[in-house]
C-alpha cells in the first residue's frame, strides 16, 4: 500500500494500462509536453512516445471525433477534456455518435473509449473552469459515467473504464486531485463500474453523494454523530449505471434520505436517486426525501463570497442532516 493523492492514483492507472495494452493511448490539450495542466499525464510522453501521448490543438470536437474514429478501429483512446467547461463542442461526438454507435450498428461497432473530464468548483475557477456537467451524460443511454472521490476508487475505476469496451465518461473533481489522499494498493486491481460504496455505516439517515461533496458528507456525519445522529454515507462512485441496490438497501434501513451534490438541483443526478427511492422504497420512508445541491444558477460565481454561497459544504450538510433527523 502507498498513500497517494487522487491525481497520482490517476496517473498510475494511466501508466499501468498503457503498459498493459499497446492500443491504449492518450490525447488532449497539453497532455504531452506539459504533462497535463494538472500533471495527470506527467511522464507519460517520455515513457510511451509521441504516438501514444498526443498533444492536440484547441478543438474539442476534433479531439473527440478522432478518438471516436480510433475506437471504431479497435484502439483504446483516452481523450482528455481539459476542463469540463470545454466539453460542449464535443458533445455531438459523445452523445450524438459515441453513445449510439454500438446500438445503431447492432453491435458491429464498439467504442472502447474513456473520456477524462476534470470538473467541479471551489477553486475560484469562475464561469469557465468550475462546471458540473454530469447530468447530461447521466441522462444519455449508451454511456457509462464514473465519478470517484478517493484515490483508491479513482485508480480502480479508471482501470476498469479503460478495459471496458463501452464509452465511459470519467469525471474527476479537480479539487480532490491534490486535496484528497488515501491508501492505494501497489498491485494491479480494478473496481467494478456500477457499484456504489458505503463509506460509513449508520442507522438513522442515508446520505448519498459523489465527488468532492462526499468528503463533506463524511465530515458532517462525523460531526452529527456526536449529537446522536447516526448517518450512513453512500458514495455512488459510478453515476451510471446507478447502483440502485445499494441505495435502496440503505434507505430501507434508515427511512431517511439526504442527497448531496454540487451540480444544480433541478434535474441533477439527485433527482433520479430521489425518484428511485420514492418509487421503490416508498413503504420505508419515514421523512420526505431531501436534496442539498448547488442552486439553479447559470454558473458558479467568481467572487469568493458568492462561490462560497453556491457550494454545499460541511456546515450546510450538517444543517440538512439535523433537520432531517428532527422530522
Amino acid at each position: 500500500m502507498v498513500v497517494a493523492s487522487v491525481i497520482e492514483a490517476i496517473r498510475e492507472a494511466l501508466r499501468e494500462e498503457m503498459r498493459r495494452n499497446h492500443d491504449v493511448f492518450v490525447l488532449g490539450e497539453d497532455v504531452g509536453q506539459r504533462g497535463g495542466v494538472f500533471l495527470a499525464t506527467q511522464g507519460l510522453l517520455e515513457e510511451f512516445g509521441g504516438e501514444r501521448v498526443i498533444d492536440t490543438p484547441l478543438a474539442e470536437a476534433s479531439i473527440m471525433g478522432i478518438a471516436l474514429g480510433a475506437a471504431f478501429r479497435g484502439m483504446r483512446p483516452i481523450p482528455e477534456v481539459q476542463f469540463s467547461d470545454f466539453v460542449w463542442p464535443a458533445v455531438n461526438q459523445l452523445i450524438g455518435e459515441a453513445a449510439r454507435a454500438c446500438y445503431g450498428t447492432n453491435g458491429a461497432l464498439n467504442v472502447p473509449m474513456v473520456v477524462r473530464i476534470p470538473y467541479g468548483g471551489g477553486i475560484r475557477g469562475g464561469l469557465f473552469h468550475s462546471q458540473n456537467v454530469e447530468a447530461m451524460f447521466f441522462h444519455t443511454p449508451g454511456l457509462k459515467v464514473i465519478a470517484p472521490s478517493t484515490p483508491y476508487d479513482a485508480k480502480g475505476l479508471l482501470k476498469s473504464a479503460i478495459r471496458d469496451n463501452n464509452p465511459v465518461i470519467s469525471l474527476e473533481h479537480k479539487k480532490t486531485y491534490r486535496l484528497v489522499r488515501g491508501e492505494v494498493p501497489e498491485e494491479d486491481y480494478t473496481l467494478p463500474i456500477g457499484l456504489a460504496d458505503v463509506k460509513r455505516t449508520g442507522g438513522a439517515i442515508t446520505t448519498v453523494s459523489y465527488g468532492l461533496m462526499l468528503h463533506y458528507c463524511l465530515e458532517a456525519a462525523e460531526q452529527v454523530s456526536q449529537e446522536g445522529i447516526d448517518v450512513e454515507v453512500v458514495d455512488l462512485r459510478t453515476l451510471k449505471p446507478l447502483d440502485k441496490k445499494t441505495i435502496l438497501e440503505s434507505v430501507r434501513k434508515t427511512g431517511r434520505l439526504l442527497i448531496v451534490h454540487e451540480d444544480n438541483l433541478t434535474g441533477g443526478v439527485g433527482a433520479e436517486v430521489a425518484a428511485v427511492a420514492a418509487a421503490e422504497a416508498f413503504d420505508y420512508l419515514d421523512a420526505p426525501i431531501s436534496r442539498l445541491c448547488g442552486p439553479d444558477v447559470p454558473t458558479m460565481p467568481f467572487a469568493e463570497t458568492l462561490e462560497k454561497a453556491y457550494m454545499p459544504d460541511t456546515v450546510k450538510v450538517t444543517e440538512a442532516l439535523r433537520n432531517l433527523a428532527a422530522y
Binding site: 427511512g255 416508498f282 413503504d283 419515514d286 421523512a287 428532527a326 422530522y327
Partner: protein, 451 residues
C-alpha cells in the same frame, strides 16, 4: 326617496346577466326581500330580491336585455336607507407588487395573485385557481399523519397507532416511535397474564367509564390484562356500533332437515373431490346473498341524509383467530356457487387462523354472517358490524320435536337471528328478509346444485 336598484353580483366569474321576467310592475308595492325580477346568467337563473321595502317606480332594464353586474335595473320609492353600492369584482391586480421597482430584465417579475392561464386553467378569474405560497421562514409545514414506514410497521405488527406517542416534528409519530412501541408495548402495567384466564377486577373506585389505557396500582384482589391492539380495535368498533346504530333484533326458526340430508349425502364425495369439508356455511351464505338481492336495503349503509345501497354483496364471515375476532370478507359472494363459497370461506378461515390475512381481505364487507351455532349457541343477539345494515347469525342445529301437519315430527331445527339498523329498515323489510333466508334454506336439499 328614489333608490336605484342594481343587478347584484352572483359569482366570481359571472360578469353579466339577462333580464328574464319582471315580477313586479311600476306602481306595485314591494316588501323587503320580495322577488323583483328573474335574471338569467350562464351559471344560474335566479330571482333578485328587493333590498328595501317600498314601491317600484321605474324599470330601467327591459326583459331580454343583457346588462353587466352592478348596472342599474330599476328605481324604487322607499323610506329605507339605500342599499350600499355593489362593489364590482374587478380582475385581481396583476401588476407587479409595488415593492418591486427593478427593471424587468430576463428574470422578470413575480406576479401576485394570478391564477393559472391557458389550457391548464381558466384565467385570473378562475375560482378554481389554487393558491400556492412559499412557507414563511418561521413556518414549519405540518407533517402528514403517518409516514409510509410508520404505516407499514403498524400493519405488519398490528399496532394501533392511536396508542403511540410521537416524538417527531409537531408530535409526528416516527418510525422509531413505532419500533419502540413494538418492543415495549403500550404504557407499562402491572403483570401480564395469558389471555385464556379472564379476570374479574373489583376496583375500589367504581369508575366504569375510565379509559383502560391508564395503569392503576394492582392489589391482591385483582389482575390487570393490558389490551392488545386487536382487543382495543374490537372494543372501539363495538362501542361505535352500539352507540351509533339503533339495534333491533328478530329471529326465525329454520327447518334444516332437508339440508342436513343433502350434506350427509354428498359430504364424502365433496371431500374427495374438493379436499375440503362441506359445512352448512356456504349454504347459509348462498341463501343470504340471494335474499339480499330481493331485499337490497339490507345490503346498505346509513349515509346520514341518505341510505346508500351497496351494489356488490361482500359477505364477512366472523372467525375466531388467535389474535381475536376477525371478519374476513368474501368479495362479490353472489357470483360464487356453493362449492366456490365453501372454498373461499375455507381459504379465509385458514389464513385468519394463521394470521395471514391481507388488508384487502378484511375491507369492503357489506353484510356479516356469524356462525354462533358452532359454539353451541341457540339464540344470539349480535352487534352489527358498523356501518353495515344488519348482521345474521346461524345458531346450533338441534333435533327437536315440532308440529308438522298437525302431528309431532322430529326435525333438525336451527334459529337464525338478525340484528338490524332500524334507521334503514323496519320490521317489514327485515322480517321479509329473514323469511326469505328461511325459505331458501328450507328448500335446499338433494336437488340443490353445488357447482
Amino acid at each position: 326617496m328614489a333608490i336605484t336598484i342594481e343587478l347584484p353580483h352572483v359569482g366570481e366569474s359571472v360578469v353579466e346577466g339577462t333580464i328574464g321576467k319582471w315580477l313586479k310592475q311600476p306602481g306595485d308595492d314591494v316588501q323587503r326581500y320580495e322577488p323583483l325580477v328573474e335574471i338569467v346568467t350562464d351559471k344560474v337563473t335566479m330571482d333578485v330580491p328587493s333590498p328595501v321595502a317600498g314601491s317600484l317606480l321605474k324599470i330601467l332594464a327591459q326583459e331580454g336585455e343583457t346588462i353587466p353586474m352592478g348596472a342599474p335595473i330599476a328605481e324604487m320609492e322607499s323610506a329605507d336607507a339605500p342599499p350600499p353600492p355593489t362593489v364590482p369584482t374587478a380582475p385581481p391586480d396583476i401588476r407587479p407588487s409595488p415593492e418591486v421597482s427593478r427593471p424587468v430584465g430576463t428574470i422578470g417579475y413575480l406576479f401576485q395573485d394570478v391564477g393559472p392561464v391557458g389550457p391548464t386553467g381558466g384565467g385570473p378569474n378562475d375560482p378554481a385557481a389554487v393558491e400556492f405560497r412559499e412557507l414563511a421562514p418561521n413556518e414549519t409545514s405540518k407533517p402528514a399523519r403517518h409516514s409510509p414506514a410508520v404505516r407499514r410497521l403498524a400493519n405488519e405488527h398490528n399496532v394501533d397507532l392511536s396508542l403511540v406517542t410521537g416524538s417527531g416534528m409537531g408530535g409526528r409519530i416516527t418510525r422509531n416511535d413505532v419500533l419502540a412501541f413494538i418492543k415495549t408495548g403500550p404504557a407499562p402495567s402491572a403483570r401480564t397474564r395469558t389471555p385464556s384466564m379472564p379476570v374479574i377486577s373489583s376496583t375500589v373506585k367504581n369508575d366504569a367509564a375510565e379509559p383502560s389505557g391508564t395503569p392503576s396500582e394492582s392489589n391482591e384482589d385483582e389482575e390487570q390484562i393490558p389490551l392488545t391492539p386487536v382487543r382495543r380495535m374490537i372494543a372501539d368498533a363495538m362501542v361505535r356500533s352500539v352507540s351509533q346504530i339503533p339495534h333491533a333484533w328478530s329471529t326465525v326458526e329454520v327447518d334444516m332437515t332437508s339440508l342436513v340430508a343433502l350434506r350427509v349425502q354428498i359430504r364424502d364425495e365433496f371431500q374427495r373431490r374438493e379436499g375440503i369439508d362441506l359445512t352448512y356455511l356456504p349454504f347459509a351464505i348462498k341463501a343470504l346473498v340471494e335474499s339480499l338481492k330481493e331485499y337490497p336495503t339490507l345490503n346498505a349503509v346509513w349515509g346520514g341524509d341518505k341510505i346508500i345501497l351497496k351494489k356488490r354483496v361482500n359477505v364477512g364471515i366472523a372467525v375466531a383467530a388467535p389474535v381475536g375476532l376477525v371478519v374476513p370478507v368474501i368479495h362479490s359472494a353472489s357470483q360464487l356457487s356453493i362449492a366456490g363459497l365453501a372454498a373461499a370461506a375455507r381459504d379465509l378461515t385458514l389464513r385468519a387462523r394463521n394470521n395471514k390475512l391481507t388488508l384487502e381481505d378484511v375491507q369492503g364487507g357489506t353484510f356479516t354472517l356469524n356462525n354462533t351455532g358452532v359454539l353451541g349457541s341457540t339464540i344470539s343477539q349480535p352487534i352489527i358490524n358498523h356501518p353495515q345494515a344488519a348482521i345474521l347469525t346461524t345458531e346450533a342445529i338441534q333435533k327437536r320435536p315440532v308440529v308438522r301437519d298437525d302431528a309431532i315430527a322430529i326435525r333438525s331445527m336451527m334459529n337464525i337471528c338478525m340484528s338490524f339498523d332500524h334507521r334503514i329498515n323496519d320490521g317489514a323489510e327485515s322480517g321479509g328478509f329473514l323469511m326469505a333466508v328461511k325459505s331458501r334454506l328450507e328448500s335446499m336439499g338433494p336437488d340443490t346444485p353445488i357447482y
